[in-house]
């Protein structure tokens, strides 16, 4: 099981060169790839960075089968 490491997230941010609404969707894909889910901390942080509400980001995330918002057993 992969766990959320703030440092890994910081590195992802750095290698992407900043997150805006224009690349948020693909960035969330990278977060999902790194941790196996999109952690709550990340959603909070990205909401601030992009000026979108957390609800808006969760609304999108939970509508895609390939995004997870919780650690899944065996994931």
């Amino acid at each position: 099981m992969k766990e959320f490491k703030p440092q890994t997230y910081q590195n992802l941010l750095k290698s992407t060169g900043g997150v805006t609404r224009e690349n948020l969707f693909s960035f969330l894909g990278k977060v999902q790839g790194a941790f196996g889910y999109v952690p709550r901390e990340v959603v909070c942080d990205l909401a601030i960075r992009t000026g979108l509400s957390e609800a808006r980001i969760y609304g999108a995330l939970t509508s895609y089968v390939d995004f997870k918002v919780k650690v899944e057993a065996g994931g």
């Binding site: 609404r21 224009e22 969707f25 894909g29 999108a60 089968v65």
Partner: protein
């Protein structure tokens, strides 16, 4: 029947990340020509070439570009739709994996023509290897001066973002794809306004399919006249046919438009049906196209001829069904897929697909009545007439055509005297 390899001429001939090898095979000639022209002239060339969209709807590409180019709003976006989700379609993958530079070249020409500085390629989630290849390709392209500021020494700048899809079938639809890129649910929208007026983030956006965009460098490199020698007057160029289902040799075959018949494609290139049975039905344009019966498969491989035969060329995904299968089982499989994939935005599709699936389930259990067949037709027709996007308008077509072509399959399971 012979294949004409135009778009697929370089597939398998070079290491996908090697730009030098691509150039050695006459790559980038189209882009160089385009950059030497004014953007309006590039659009004019595409318009004259008669190129139409290869993603299913068949909209004229030049017209789409022109309407985005004339919009005053900035910035503009270009999106290459590599989310090929239509059942039976796997042609774009061949180009994305086998000749990615040609697709990139097409993207650059398109972005230049419409005046976009940001381009996206939205790759189907299941194509993981393809997405990884493209992520590396972007790095290589930046090194080679093909992405970023001042491309090939010109004043044109563009950057490309590789986006991986996250599952839904509907994300292949223009507006749903745009919603997805905006980090929203993948859902269609009422048109107009079209994406060329109000697309991604409300800005003018062109969305083109991979195969469509792979035609662009060919048109620019060889010239309109040479390109129009391929295919026929109403249908210039070639098409990649994804042949699948009950055939001995499934695969992607590139054919000039009008170069033969559906039957020849199945019997010669596909080497006949898998178990040697007669053909029962064929879907010539992917999972949402109407069935053609055995009597109609002599039709030519052109948009017009297939439409006249009673179906549509769609994504040119030819799915073959042998005798021995019940039409009910076939449509049941299709409805199961589309039922899970309806985005739920509009009522006819959201409810219609579920109701139709329920009726077909009842029929396949042997509990159906004549009334159920009537209802199946009614709901199907209502969905076609009232749905917002291409999916809702098209998924009932195979069901409706199966009811016409194979009434005996349905009659056989219907209870004559209602219980």
């Amino acid at each position: 029947m012979k294949e004409s390899k135009v778009l697929t001429q370089r597939v398998g001939k070079y290491e996908p990340l090697d730009i030098k090898a691509y150039q050695a095979l006459d790559g980038l000639n189209g882009l160089r020509r385009a950059l030497a022209m004014a953007p309006e002239l590039v659009i004019e060339q595409i318009r004259q070439s008669g190129l139409t969209g290869r993603g299913g709807a068949g909209f004229p590409t030049g017209l789409k570009w022109a309407s985005a180019a004339q919009e005053k709003q900035e910035p503009k976006y270009f999106i290459c739709n590599a989310d090929e989700g239509e059942l039976g379609t796997f042609k774009d993958k061949v180009l994305l994996d086998g000749d990615p530079w040609a697709v990139l070249e097409g993207i650059l020409i398109a972005a230049y023509a419409i005046g976009a500085e940001q381009a996206y390629i939205y790759i189907k989630g299941e194509y993981e290897k393809t997405a990884k290849l493209w992520e590396k390709l972007v790095g290589e392209a930046e090194k080679a001066g093909l992405l970023g500021e001042g491309i090939l020494g010109s004043e044109f700048s563009v950057s490309l973002q590789v986006v991986r899809g996250k599952g839904p079938y509907i994300a292949g639809e223009e507006f749903a794809l745009i919603s997805s890129l905006e980090t929203r649910r993948a859902m269609s929208k009422l048109k107009p306004p079209y994406p060329t007026e109000k697309g991604l983030f409300g800005k003018p956006t062109v969305v083109n399919n991979v195969e469509t965009i792979a035609n662009v460098p060919v048109i620019l490199a060889y010239g309109v006249e040479e390109y129009r020698r391929l295919g026929i007057e109403e249908d210039p160029g070639t098409r990649l046919f994804s042949l699948s289902g009950d055939v001995k040799k499934p695969g992607v075959y590139e054919l000039e438009m009008g170069s033969g018949t559906l039957k020849e494609l199945i019997n010669e290139l596909g080497q006949g049906t898998a178990a040697g049975q007669l053909i029962k039905a064929v879907q010539p344009g992917g999972g949402t196209s109407a069935f053609l019966g055995r009597a109609s498969i002599g039709c030519g491989l052109t948009t017009q001829a297939i439409r006249k035969a009673g179906s549509g060329i769609g994504t040119a995904a030819v799915i073959v069904y042998e005798e021995g299968k019940s039409a009910i089982d076939i449509v049941k499989g299709l409805l199961e897929f589309y039922g899970a994939e309806s985005c739920g935005r509009c009522v006819p599709c959201r409810i219609g697909v579920v109701k139709m699936k329920e009726i077909v389930d009842t029929l396949s259990c042997g509990n159906g009545t004549e009334q159920d067949l009537t209802r199946l037709r009614q709901i199907g027709k209502a969905c076609v007439a009232a749905s917002t996007c291409g999916m809702g308008q098209a998924f009932p077509l195979p069901v409706l055509s199966a009811l016409e072509l194979f009434p005996e399959d349905f009659e056989a399971v219907v209870q004559k005297v209602p219980a």
